[in-house]
């Protein structure tokens, strides 16, 4: 399938050429009745596809013929028509109310449609309300909560990171990605961040296969279509400026435990009979804890974060080897680590003008965002955007356009380590509150995450994206045209990581005895003052060893530079033909080609051992040999597509799409695939029986079916690629020997995964279309899903080959309600709300029935765990004569045979003499026995013992599904009002249900209590004999496990990640036009906005952002900071002021 049948078809169409009509450029302005300019108004040449949108000043420019009619339509306003006469200028004012949003134009794949005519599942974004004048760094963040079915997750506050975007559901397959295709003017972009939010004209989200299939294989996870503003301005240059200053702060007060964290550590140690010290580099025992309590009383109010740490007063040393550092002063890491009210500024200027038949748009954007790391030399993200778009009408048949876009993103951050599994954020949440920050009394910084961030040199991740676009539209007739666009995009990414060697007062190693000039020991008292050795309370003084503790060539004593070059060429060519057979039968045909070729090449260089750590350069690094790596990949796609729209009497709508797609990612026999889709709509409101009432103004039912192949799978599934590189064997020549590894097992007949979507939707407009409701119900099946071949034993010697043996199903629904009204007194109100939900199930995978395996029927994300009854109290135990629970060896009378011989504290029988239920299966540590204050689980299956059976579906003991880690009920709603130039809007976004079983210090009480860090939430409310009503169990050091002893996966301590956020609150004022006109300004709006400002969650005050995803960050997407919950840059909120100016 190549040019062969495309060309004759096109040639055939040429013969249908009708006469050419005379067209010219008409410019104009659209305003409200009170002369406020109206941006975003759709201006359409009636009966054609020719449409433009007015710019922020209400200006537009469109080519049309004399006698044609321009249709002006805008949400919340009555549409207006104007016949073009002799004048080249048309100005209209629109009346409020009686709106009809259904006349809006929606951007769809390779074209536009009236909203009322859309039959696929397509959502559009109200760009002006969602993105304009918000202190957000990128479009993705702005889209959170704005569109039903588009889930946006912002897992950390790392500036410059991409948000996670997903359309409809958690995943589409176990292979390949689940990220949607993002197209900017029909060209794929590498990151949503390259787009300047202020240059966007429209965003459409194509959710079902019927809408997306015209984009072929890359669109299997849905499409986000972004179009940019074009052709604005009149003969007078139009300048728009918008500026925003914001200040960001951590999203909520994050509280780590202080004294109580020490107490917890001591309690946990004493519980298992350790009455000595606990800790790693600083220690705590009962004695030092009491001293810490005393310290708090004496100095808690007077000594602050800026005061140095003084020996004798803040810490002391004990032990026969004088190496046990005991802390008394507690520190709050946030005082040192978090930059408060970090500033960010954003400026955008656009200039547009139309000169004769040529129009241009020039856009410049600048963002300078501060990160959250207070000690860093530099922690920021800057972005520069520039774009130029020119369009000229050569003659009435030919329009030529060109454009260029440039986006430069630079993330600068402190480079403290090459590790992405244990960066300073992890250490911030690892060590207890006695680990000092700040300086010691000699003025040396103390080794800590803060000192390392402070000493780190600045890394830079610089990304330059550029695209150049050339295109033409050939208008053969009024209803037949051909569009051709060629885009060349490049992105080069340069990532420089200059390391250093750290010098600090080493809190991780043994202290040094302090001596005077003669070398005699110095003694201090408990205030830290030097005293004579015989003075009461005198103790020999110690200092931390101030030295360079990074070994030569050790991490991060190196310099790294990696460069990635990406280039792609995209050609889109398509021809559109509108054919109105009769007034009742209207057809629209599209036929086109889409061709993409892309290549990526990268290189990595690293040299260890810096000779200059102030100015780290490759010239100043001497480690040998340098480490060099690199790779190159290339790929291409070619697709031919066609679409037919048929409308009968404006009541019945049918659309059919067919695409023939080829992808280089597969062996040649699998290159080509067909993707069909159909959708249909019935505008019930145009039927006579609904015409007689005035409540329902619009009612459409639509349905669709479509199929798309998924090409995001790696080519190693198809080809026996042998890994290669340098082995760990040093050969006789003194160099590492090159090796080639074992080829994987593959199935040669493996084929594409098919994503099939069925969608049923309803669009409703009531009360003069002031309120619109859209509801969609869908099912998406991943057929022929690639999963490992079932039933291959270990004797095969490698992983089972993968094939198209599985399937997955997602069911979901989406609801959007919009309401606009303007009262007679001029107050306008608007509401937008959306909510969506989906569940994904494994249909076919294999025969495994383990509850934590991919069994058939599994609901993706489900969490199996125990049900928690309560905490054991002393009264539950059969106490010995010493008044303590007694450890007994269980017999066959107590427990089933497999647990006989295990030890447990003896429980009392139930009130009615029931046999007590023992939990020995859940005792995972040799020194852990369930006692008072520990978790009492529910014997869900009533078998008299708590265990997981065989952890199989058929026998899962007391395990049940207790939650699901995928977000459910994603919602967002906005309320807005405006009156006489004042406007206010509030936007909430949230997730209705999501649970996570966490990992690490912030999520598991007693995770590793000897290390010491713990959120205040845990240590302020754990069980002790004096606090028997606690929420958290008695102190125990779980040794880093998140599924053992008290902390088996269970419902009581499952993190409830549901939340609702005040995403945005904006108050604005547009100055009166008559005032502005005098100074030559068209419009001026000033506003203040709060972003992310308040979050309501259910995390009991834990310092965990409810959007956090364990192990995910921009540095490492699956095991960042050892997948410990919450250990990364915290999310932030911001407050801002801004102006929008147009002249």
């Amino acid at each position: 399938m190549t040019i062969k049948w495309t060309l004759p078809f096109l040639l055939g169409m040429f013969f249908c050429l009708a006469s050419f009509a005379q067209s010219r450029t008409v410019t104009g302005n659209v305003s409200t009745e009170d002369n406020t300019p109206l941006p975003g108004v759709t201006v359409n040449v009636k009966g054609t596809d020719h449409t433009v949108i007015t710019d922020p000043s209400g200006n537009f420019s469109i080519s049309a013929n004399t006698g044609q009619t321009l249709v002006f339509s805008y949400v919340g306003y009555n549409s207006k028509e104007s016949v073009i006469g002799t004048s080249n200028s048309v100005s209209v004012s629109l009346n409020r109310n009686n709106a009809n949003r259904l006349q809006d134009v929606v951007v769809v794949g390779y074209g536009t449609q009236k909203r009322g005519d859309v039959t696929g599942a397509i959502s559009t974004v109200d760009v002006s309300k969602t993105l304009v004048a918000r202190p957000i760094a990128d479009v993705g963040r702005g889209l959170q909560g704005a569109v039903s079915g588009l889930n946006v997750i912002i897992p950390s506050g790392e500036v410059g990171s991409d948000p996670i975007l997903k359309i409809r559901g958690a995943m589409t397959s176990f292979q390949g990605s689940s990220t949607p295709l993002i197209l900017l003017d029909n060209v794929e972009i590498p990151s949503i961040q390259v787009v300047n939010p202020n240059e966007i004209a429209s965003i459409s989200v194509l959710k079902d296969a019927a809408a997306a299939s015209i984009y072929g294989a890359k669109a299997s996870n849905g499409v986000i279509l972004i179009t940019t503003k074009k052709g604005s301005g009149t003969s007078k240059p139009m300048v728009t400026y918008s500026g925003n200053l914001s200040w960001q702060n951590v999203w909520k007060d994050l509280k780590m435990g202080e004294l109580n964290a020490l107490k917890y550590t001591v309690d946990a140690a004493e519980r298992v009979g350790n009455f000595g010290i606990s800790g790693a580099f600083y220690y705590v025992d009962r004695d030092s804890y009491n001293k810490a309590v005393q310290w708090q009383k004496l100095y808690g109010g007077s000594i602050g974060p800026d005061d140095p740490t003084v020996f004798g007063r803040d810490w002391y040393v004990q032990g026969s080897a004088h190496n046990q550092k005991m802390g008394m002063r507690t520190y709050n890491p946030y005082d040192y680590m978090i930059k408060e009210w970090a500033p960010t500024q954003q400026h955008d200027i656009t200039v547009g003008q139309t000169l004769g038949k040529t129009s241009f748009n020039l856009g410049l954007g600048y963002l300078d965002q501060s990160g959250m790391i207070k000690p860093a030399k530099k922690d920021d993200f800057t972005r520069y955007n520039a774009s130029l778009r020119v369009s000229t009408e050569v003659n009435k048949h030919i329009t030529i356009r060109g454009g260029a876009m440039y986006s430069r993103r630079d993330k600068e951050y402190p480079y403290a380590t090459s590790s992405t599994t244990a960066d300073p954020w992890l250490y911030l949440y690892r060590w207890g509150p006695i680990y000092p920050f700040g300086n010691d009394q000699n003025g040396n910084p103390i080794r800590s995450p803060v000192s390392e961030f402070a000493a780190a040199n600045t890394a830079s991740l610089l990304q330059n994206y550029m695209n150049v676009n050339l295109g033409t539209t050939l208008n053969f007739t009024n209803n037949w045209n051909l569009n051709f666009d060629y885009t060349y995009s490049t992105q080069d990414e340069t990532w420089k990581r200059p390391g250093t060697r750290f010098t600090a007062a080493d809190s991780w190693s043994a202290p040094l005895a302090r001596v005077d000039e003669e070398g005699n020991p110095v003694y201090v008292d408990s205030t830290g003052n030097v005293v004579s050795s015989t003075a009461p309370g005198a103790m020999p003084a110690y200092d931390l060893n101030n030295h360079t503790y990074t070994s030569l060539g050790g991490n991060p004593d190196h310099i790294i530079r990696s460069a990635t070059d990406f280039a792609s060429s995209t050609i889109n060519a398509y021809t559109t033909y509108n054919w109105k057979l009769t007034e009742n039968h209207q057809f629209k045909f599209i036929l086109g080609v889409n061709r993409v070729a892309a290549a990526t090449e990268w290189q990595y260089q690293r040299v260890n051992q810096l000779t200059d750590i102030i100015n780290p350069q490759f010239n100043f690094a001497v480690g040998t040999p340098p480490i060099v790596d690199g790779d190159k990949t290339w790929e291409s796609q070619l697709g031919y597509f066609g679409r037919i729209n048929y409308a009968f009497k404006d009541k019945y709508l049918i659309e059919g799409n067919l695409r023939r797609d080829g992808s280089s990612k597969f062996p040649s026999n699998l290159w080509w695939r067909w993707y069909p889709s159909v959708s249909a709509g019935w505008i019930v409101s145009n039927e006579k029986f609904l015409q007689k009432q005035n409540v329902v103004n619009f009612f459409k039912i639509r349905g669709s079916w479509g199929s798309i192949g998924d090409q995001t799978v790696p080519n190693t599934l198809y080809l026996p690629l042998m890994p290669s590189g340098l082995s760990n064997w040093i050969g006789g020549n003194g160099a590492r020997s090159p090796y080639v590894g074992t080829p994987p097992a593959i199935t040669h007949d493996i084929s594409w995964q098919d994503i099939e979507t069925k969608n049923l939707g309803v669009d409703l407009g009531v009360f003069e279309n002031k309120m619109t409701v859209t509801f969609d119900l869908y099912q998406r099946n991943t057929n022929n899903m690639i999963v490992p071949l079932e039933g291959i034993p270990l004797t095969y010697g490698t992983g089972a080959p993968k094939g198209n043996f599985g399937s997955l199903r997602t069911n979901g629904w989406e609801l959007t309600i919009e309401f606009n009204h303007r009262f007679e007194n001029g107050i306008g109100v608007n509401f937008m709300g959306n909510i969506s939900d989906s569940k994904t199930f494994i249909e076919e995978y294999g025969t495994s029935t383990g509850v934590n395996s991919n069994y058939n029927g599994k609901n993706i994300g489900e969490i199996w765990g125990y049900r928690t009854d309560r905490l054991y109290q002393m009264s539950d135990f059969d106490l010995g004569s010493d008044g303590k629970p007694q450890l007994i060896t269980l017999t066959a009378d107590d427990v089933p045979a497999k647990y006989v011989g295990k030890k447990a504290y003896k429980l009392k029988p139930g009130k009615n003499g029931e046999k007590p239920v023992y939990q020995v299966f859940l005792q995972n540590s040799s020194n852990f026995f369930f006692g008072p204050g520990d978790v009492k689980f529910k014997d869900v299956n009533g078998d008299g013992v708590i265990d997981n059976g065989s952890a199989l579906l058929s026998d899962h003991g007391d395990l049940e599904v207790i939650g699901n880690s995928n977000p459910r009920y994603n919602y967002g709603f906005r309320l807005g009002a405006n009156y006489k130039g004042f406007d206010i809007s509030v936007f909430f976004q949230g997730v209705g249900s999501r649970q996570v079983w966490g990992n690490g210090f912030l999520a598991i009480p007693g995770d590793q209590s000897s290390d010491g860090a713990s959120p205040a939430t845990f240590v302020d409310d754990y069980w002790t004999p004096d606090n028997t009503n606690a929420f958290y169990p008695a102190a125990y050091n779980n040794g880093g496990s998140n599924d053992a002893n008290n902390m088996h996966v269970q419902d009581r301590y499952l993190l409830n990640m549901a939340y609702i956020r005040l995403k945005n609150l904006t108050v604005g004022y547009s100055l009166p036009q008559n005032l502005l006109k005098k100074v030559g300004v068209n419009s001026l709006r000033v506003y203040g906005a709060l972003e992310n400002f308040i979050t309501w969650d259910h995390l009991r005050g834990l310092p965990i952002d409810p959007e956090y995803i364990d192990g995910y960050s921009m540095w490492n997407s699956d095991n960042y900071n050892l997948s410990r919950t919450g250990m990364g840059t915290p999310a932030f909120k911001s407050a801002s002021v801004g102006i929008q100016l147009n002249f």
């Binding site: 040019i3 000595g276 003659n395 051709f484 796609q637 026996p720 090796y739 010697g797």
Partner: protein, 616 residues
């Protein structure tokens, strides 16, 4: 009409521009080797790169970084030479719910000193053999084809030897099995003898066809032969002492002798190096005893941690006990009970270092060291320089996982001990020619005659007298079922290979796993004799007095616990803190069970996987 043509032309040009390249979608991987004819297996360079990937799995040396699989000290910690605090590591006592892997990177099982139920390396070797035959053969000479086939078969034989040592019977796959051949994949275990006969055939092919020299540090016939002597000695003695199959035992022992002969008669290797240098040298290039070594180089980021676990500061957790110390022969060639040396019964470390075989001094620090649970700290893999850093900051060579001393992978010392043992067993139980004094001189006595390094000489360490066939020591500790000569050969192995890779495997093949039952000898819980207030006063802290965990045992068996006031009485054998015996075990522990899940999987599919003997 001109305009019309113009537009048409433009439209057509656009389309042509798009569709002009026919091979537009042909974008194969640019930077990966593809396992296909013509794309790989083209020449010896390709083949050599594939063979190299086997090296670090079989020639582990000190392994890399902190990984200690198949590495001395940190890896081989499950045996009767060492004792830890509290309860000793237990034997496996129940069938695991699942056991095995299909990955080449699966961790070994330290309790069995071998691989888990994993056939990834079998598959890899079989792919190698298959591709040499099907793809490479036309591209290389017949000599090269045979050599590389020998290389592939060597690794296959090696892997099956390992699997058999762990599991006994295992299914044998002599070729790559396709995923559709379920009957083959799900076949039950083949008998041990059947499998080892296949291994025997592979090894015969190896000895007949492998190159004598394939470049420095590359596998050659002598390296292979040295390994074959090890693996065949294991299987021959295992079959013999476990009473499995006498014919096979003899067949394998004969091959062990034959392979060792090949190495010994090559005159390429000799005992020219002192003992310590074998394990702690920056470079082993040119060391005459070393047949194959593994090189480490910080600049290449190939480093290990074994030196640091011998550096006098790092704790291993299990350390040489009094039983091991007592087993060292006196340097007069006698056992301590019968020695004429007046200090023979003085078990203080300093005296042991002076009076025992030089390997004692080269294996242990010559004074008590609190980093060892027994105070007898192994420093065999640390240089004399390394332990001077105790109490200071170690250089990367001897601290952390940045060590760069080369590791002997296989050396002549082992080959001669394999050889003499095989010969002795053949003579003792299979009626072969008796061992001669000359045989002993070529093996054990050659080892004993290694040069001493200057530091050892300075300490007064002396070479051990030769073992005389006419005057074999009469060890009162000797097991009645072990003849005197074989007992001494076993002792020689114990001294030679302490903390290396053989003790557990030796016990298994000798059917002497009962040595792991520490209830049989109270010495297992003791360290050397110590005068605490003099030699190790820092142990006598007030905390220790409170806890009551510092104890010594007098010669008469009295136990003295430090109570804060009795320091002067703290003289005796050091008692390892709270040391207790491991769980009881049976003959089932000679072999590993397979997982219950695997047995169930077979049953589900209508096949049978038989559980390991003793574990049913």
């Amino acid at each position: 009409m001109r305009k019309y043509n113009y537009i048409c032309g433009l439209g057509i040009a656009c389309l042509l521009f798009i569709s002009c390249k026919k091979d537009f979608l042909d974008r194969p991987p640019l930077t990966s080797y593809v396992d296909a004819d013509g794309q790989f297996w083209r020449n010896e360079d390709d083949i050599r790169m594939f063979a190299t990937d086997f090296y670090d799995n079989y020639f582990n040396g000190y392994n890399t970084s902190f990984t200690a699989d198949y590495a001395p000290v940190r890896g081989y910690t499950f045996n009767d030479d060492v004792t830890g605090k509290n309860v000793q590591s237990n034997f496996e006592s129940s069938v695991p719910s699942s056991r095995g892997s299909s990955s080449e990177n699966a961790a070994w099982m330290s309790q069995y000193a071998g691989p888990t139920w994993d056939f990834a390396w079998v598959r890899k070797a079989n792919i190698f053999i298959d591709r040499l035959d099907k793809n490479a053969k036309p591209n290389i000479t017949d000599e090269a084809y045979k050599h590389w086939t020998a290389v592939a078969r060597f690794f296959r034989g090696y892997e099956y030897s390992r699997l058999v040592s762990v599991f006994g019977d295992v299914p044998y796959f002599g070729r790559v099995v396709n995923e559709s051949e379920l009957d083959t994949l799900y076949k039950d275990r083949d008998p041990r003898g059947y499998v080892m006969d296949k291994v025997y055939d592979d090894f015969q092919y190896v000895l007949a066809n492998m190159r004598e020299n394939d470049g420095t540090q590359n596998l050659n016939k002598y390296i292979a032969a040295a390994f074959i002597s090890r693996l065949m000695l294991f299987e021959g003695t295992y079959e013999h002492y476990h009473g499995l199959d006498a014919d096979r035992a003899k067949k394998y022992l004969d091959l062990a002798v034959q392979a060792a002969d090949l190495v010994m008669n090559s005159n390429k290797y000799s005992f020219g190096s002192d003992f310590k240098s074998l394990f702690s040298s920056e470079s082993l290039a040119g060391n005459p005893e070393v047949i194959l070594y593994r090189a480490y180089d910080a600049a290449l980021q190939i480093t290990h941690c074994i030196g640091s676990y011998s550096n006098g500061t790092e704790t291993v957790g299990v350390d040489g006990n009094l039983v091991l110390a007592k087993s060292f022969i006196m340097n007069d060639g006698n056992v301590w009970e019968n020695s004429s040396n007046p200090d023979a019964a003085d078990f203080s470390i300093a005296n042991l270092a002076k009076t025992r075989d030089p390997r004692f001094e080269a294996t242990f620090i010559d004074k008590p060291n609190g980093s060892a649970t027994t105070l007898l700290y192994e420093d065999k893999f640390a240089s004399r320089d390394a332990i001077t850093y105790i109490g200071k900051t170690y250089p990367p060579e001897w601290g952390s996982n940045t060590n760069t001393s080369d590791a002997p992978v296989i050396r002549l010392g082992e080959v001669v001990l394999n050889w003499i043992e095989a010969k002795a067993v053949l003579a003792q139980d299979f009626g072969e020619t008796p061992v001669t004094q000359d045989d002993l001189d070529r093996s054990i006595n050659a080892i004993r005659n290694r040069p001493l390094d200057a530091a050892a000489i300075a300490k007064g360490v002396q070479k051990t007298a030769p073992l005389e066939l006419s005057a074999l020591p009469d060890d009162p500790q000797r097991d009645a079922d072990v003849p005197q000569l074989i007992w001494e050969i076993r002792r020689e192995r114990r001294m030679e290979f302490a903390f290396e890779n053989f003790r557990l495997l030796d016990l298994k093949r000798w059917k002497k796993l009962n040595y792991m039952d520490f209830s049989t000898n109270a010495d297992y819980f003791l360290g050397p004799w110590i005068n605490l207030p003099v030699e190790y006063p820092s142990a006598l802290t007030s905390a220790a007095a409170t806890k009551g965990n510092v104890k010594v045992k007098k010669s008469d068996g009295t136990i003295v616990t430090y109570n804060g006031t009795n320091a002067s009485d703290m003289v005796g054998f050091w008692m390892v803190d709270n040391a207790k015996n491991r769980n009881s075990f049976t003959d089932q522990n000679y072999l590993s069970p397979v997982g219950q899940a695997q047995i169930n999987d077979y049953k589900d599919k209508g096949y049978t996987l038989t559980q390991t003997v003793g574990w049913q």
